[in-house]
């Protein structure tokens, strides 16, 4: 997370010092210590990989020991039985395990919930049984002797082996470091923080969870292969269920969801037999006790503990909020948004016809129909429970209607996958803001841009020039949008820690970043001060003037009547009236159903 570290040079100098340290480290070590350090590097790879699926995608795998085991046995058997070279053996192990990972993961990840934990648990038990009982291949409890690997002039033992493993450990670490700071990493965090919001921003939930799980399985397989050539003798006991739990402890101890935490955890846990020597045979008891205490008191792990301490000493963004009111010149706003807005050609941009949806017998929408013309600011009002937000949820495919049709510039929205709605040009805000709570303001806005960015897995993981260019451009545009909404002062603050009024502005920035044709705003003025609401009104007008159509839900009548050109009134799931603010406020049905006894004198403002 670049913004969290600050774009300063010091992380690089720290990294350089660490790298030199790792290169020099083994020179003075006795053979046994060198072996332990090499193993610690192997576990680092597993932990970094497990963190991608657990810390970022928020899904639990209990099969990483099994993945490691299959990787280890595949490497060992290819080398000993088929006399393969070490590199293709490792590659084959990685490919095989990744495929297995997909097979295990896909069905469980289609459904929301912790089914991946169950599926991986099943796979762990299966793999354990197979490894222990397929005596023809694995020799069961008798184990497999791994031939010494040779790479060019080097025999991979001791020092050369250490450097060989170090190379992979550093490479996999850098790959995940880059990946997690790219659009893919942001998408993963978004999925973890808020699935629905992530999907609305164009993130394909299943695909991203799969990606994370696949990469982490591949890392485990690689670690397994390296483990095989390091220990040179494979025993089924190295890959049991309890080992999988140990991997989980590594990630959690160091700090789930941080890039560096798992490395710390892996190093600590792999040196634990030394550290916990006092406990003798009960050292495992200490592991689990430590795990439970950690979960209760600092579930964020050691890193978060340190960060929390640091936070007490120096609060992160105090004094940075409430930037000076510094309105962006109107012509610049127009340029900013127009460059991206795609003008709609049709007469009606959005056609909602006869949409119906029921929740357990209660009709939330009953044949609602209306349309939105391009370039309009349209209001959607109605008493609580009228079905307004439900309609937004149907439009963004969060809910599936039981009947009706949705046409957007001629496209049938009901035939579009939920995460593709935004690519058609519809983005939205939420009534309860729904920030990605562990991300900064800037990162939230960058997630909004998700579907407009294209860097893939390799480009992101290797941080190719094309990806860096795209990121720079995205960053620049995100900052422009933040500047337009007077948010540049809080760009680095945690979005969820800001006051509600500012969070609403961030939500608007995030929705704008998606480059919409149609912008859906759910109660944008709710909870805003009078001044903030006034500024928002001006901003919405500027957005419309730049060519973006706006459909908004709002209870603040002054806001709606003053801003909207056309208003549709919903009551109990049905449209009871559509017209100009003046027509709507004088309509007897509206007065009866919605405004009731309320004064409507300012309707024409």
């Amino acid at each position: 997370m670049s913004s969290r570290w600050g774009n300063k040079a010091w992380p690089w100098s720290v990294a350089l010092v660490l790298l030199v340290g790792l290169i020099l480290l083994p020179l003075g070590l006795p053979q046994f210590r060198l072996y332990m350090v090499t193993l610690a590097l192997v576990y680092t790879i597993v932990a970094v990989g497990l963190n991608i699926v657990m810390g970022y995608a928020g899904q639990i795998s209990i099969a990483h020991a099994a993945f490691m085991g299959v990787g280890a046995y595949t490497t060992a058997l290819l080398m000993s039985l088929l006399h393969w070279h070490v590199l293709p053996s490792l590659l084959a192990a990685v490919v095989l395990v990744t495929l297995i990972g997909f097979l295990v993961g896909i069905p469980a990840l289609r459904v929301r919930g912790h089914y991946l934990a169950l599926a991986t648990f099943a796979f762990q038990m299966i793999a354990e049984t197979v490894i222990a009982n397929w005596t023809g291949l694995t020799h069961g409890p008798n184990g497999v002797k791994v031939p010494t690997a040779v790479l060019g002039p080097w025999t991979l033992k001791e020092l050369p082996l250490y450097y060989f493993v170090l190379l992979f450990a550093v490479a996999t670490f850098l790959f995940s470091w880059n990946l997690l700071r790219s659009r893919l990493g942001r998408a993963l965090i978004a999925v973890r923080d808020h699935e629905v919001a992530a999907q609305v921003m164009g993130v394909n939930l299943t695909w991203y969870k799969m990606l994370a799980f696949g990469i982490s399985a591949a890392y485990a397989a690689l670690a397994g292969g390296l483990f095989a050539i390091t220990v040179s003798f494979l025993d089924p006991l190295a890959f049991t269920f309890w080992e999988s739990i140990k991997h989980l402890i590594m990630v959690i101890l160091g700090g789930l969801g941080t890039v560096v935490g798992p490395v710390i955890g892996a190093v600590l846990i792999s040196s634990a037999p030394e550290l916990l020597r006092g406990f003798r045979e009960h050292s495992l008891l200490a592991y689990y006790a430590v795990l439970i205490v950690l979960l209760i008191f600092i579930p964020g792990g050691l890193l978060s503990g340190i960060r929390r301490l640091a936070g007490i000493l120096a609060p992160a963004w105090i004094g940075k909020s409430g930037s000076a009111v510094n309105p962006t010149p109107a012509n610049r706003v127009k340029r900013l948004l127009q460059g991206y807005a795609r003008p709609a050609s049709n007469e009606t941009l959005l056609e909602v016809s006869n949409i119906a949806i029921h929740f357990g017998g209660i009709a939330a929408l009953e044949g609602a129909s209306f349309s939105v013309a391009p370039g309009q600011i349209k209001g959607l009002i109605g008493p609580n429970g009228a079905g307004k937000t439900t309609l937004f949820n149907v439009l963004t495919r969060v809910y599936q209607p039981s009947a009706g049709k949705l046409l957007f510039s001629g496209d049938d929205l009901l035939g579009v996958a939920p995460h593709n709605i935004v690519t058609l040009g519809i983005s939205r805000t939420f009534q309860n803001v729904e920030m990605f709570s562990t991300m900064t303001v800037l990162e939230n806005v960058l997630v909004g841009m998700h579907h407009t960015l294209h860097a893939g897995l390799l480009a992101s993981g290797l941080s190719l020039p094309s990806q860096r260019r795209e990121e720079r451009e995205a960053m620049r545009r995100a900052r422009e949008i933040l500047e337009f909404l007077d948010l540049d002062g809080v760009a680095g603050a945690m979005a969820s820690e800001l006051p509600l009024g500012i969070q609403r502005a961030v939500a608007l920035a995030r929705a704008l970043a998606a480059n919409p044709v149609l912008l859906l705003l759910d109660e944008p003025a709710s909870g805003l001060s009078h001044a903030e609401a006034g500024r928002l009104m001006a901003n919405v007008r500027a957005i419309r003037d730049a060519g973006i159509t706006v459909l908004l839900i709002e209870h603040d009548m002054r806001f709606v009547m003053g801003l909207c050109e056309s208003i549709t009134v919903l009551d109990r799931g049905e449209v009871i009236c559509t017209g100009t603010p003046a027509e709507v406020s004088s309509n007897p049905r509206v007065v009866e159903a919605y405004l009731g006894k309320e004064e409507v004198s300012h309707a024409g403002d």
Binding site: I62, L118, A122, F123, I126, L285, L295, I296, P299
Partner: protein, 288 residues
């Protein structure tokens, strides 16, 4: 061996899997979370009973006092650990339950070593024959006791006020709190019931397999039973347990002994492929 004989043989193990699954389902219904330490609860419960037995308590009393003491263990686990995680994200709970499983496993190892402790059966294990089918009094008593427990649970949920409060918590936590249900108390009771039933499972299967830390594997098959039946269905757990034991018996007899666990856990994977919510379950809801 005839299919009917296989079915009869599957009754004992099937009952154990069913009870382990019931323990899992109770916690899942109340908190929407899977207790991955369930296998260890079955194992730890058996040791709790063993302690009473070794102290000279008669067997029939152990079968009553044991589950109660197991319930106290469940209550303590909730009080000391799970209650403190109720506001954390779901993964914290999942990992904590794994940690509790590990802790119980290592405690058993530390206190009792990995030795196999024999446990006496309540009824005769003399084989009887009826219409060509062999059975023992013991392997009729185990499914009978299981059925009794599940029937009591149904009555409890259907007719008692506390049981209804539990159902309310399972369906809508906030709503239940609003109408004045003591959420903490209900969750604690759920844990106590889950651990008590797991203990009973451990004690019922102990005469057949002996007590050792590895007993967990039997409890773990409760997962397969629960996943097959549906994680939130009591009757699903019962049917799932019997089904798993029957398939296991079939595999054992006709296919392979060494790889029977591959088939059993393969069922769990297959269930994920075909219907992740199980045969009788409904979709998992997100805990918000």
């Amino acid at each position: 061996m005839t299919i009917i004989q296989l079915l009869v043989n599957a009754l004992t193990l099937g009952s154990i899997y069913a009870l382990a699954a019931v323990g899992l389902v109770l916690v899942f219904k109340a908190s929407d979370l899977i207790n991955f330490g369930q296998g260890s609860l079955v194992m730890a419960g058996a040791y709790v009973g063993l302690v009473f037995l070794l102290s000279g308590m008669p067997l029939w009393a152990v079968l009553i006092v044991g589950p109660v003491a197991g319930g106290v263990m469940g209550y303590l686990l909730d009080l000391l650990i799970f209650r403190r995680l109720s506001k954390a994200s779901a993964w914290v709970f999942v990992v904590a339950s794994l940690g509790v499983g590990g802790l119980l496993h290592e405690l058993a190892n530390a206190i009792f070593q990995s030795n196999l402790h024999p446990f006496p059966p309540l009824l005769s294990t003399e084989p009887q024959q009826w219409l060509g089918i062999y059975f023992t009094a013991q392997n009729l008593w185990v499914p009978a006791a299981t059925l009794g427990v599940v029937a009591c649970l149904f009555l409890f949920f259907e007719y008692s006020k506390v049981g209804k409060a539990m159902q309310a918590v399972a369906q809508n936590r906030t709503g239940a709190q609003i109408v004045g249900i003591n959420l903490r108390g209900i969750l604690a009771l759920t844990w106590a019931m889950s651990a008590g039933i797991s203990t009973l499972a451990g004690l019922l299967v102990a005469p057949q397999v002996g007590i050792s830390p590895e007993m967990e594997l039997l409890g773990v098959k409760g997962f397969v039973a629960a996943a097959l039946g549906g994680l939130n269905s009591l009757s699903g757990a019962l049917i799932g347990g019997l089904l798993v034991a029957f398939i296991e018996g079939l595999t054992n007899t006709y296919v392979t002994t060494a790889f029977k666990d591959v088939i059993v856990f393969g069922i769990l994977l297959a269930a994920m492929w075909i219907k992740p919510t199980g045969l009788f379950g409904s979709a998992m809801t997100k805990r918000v």
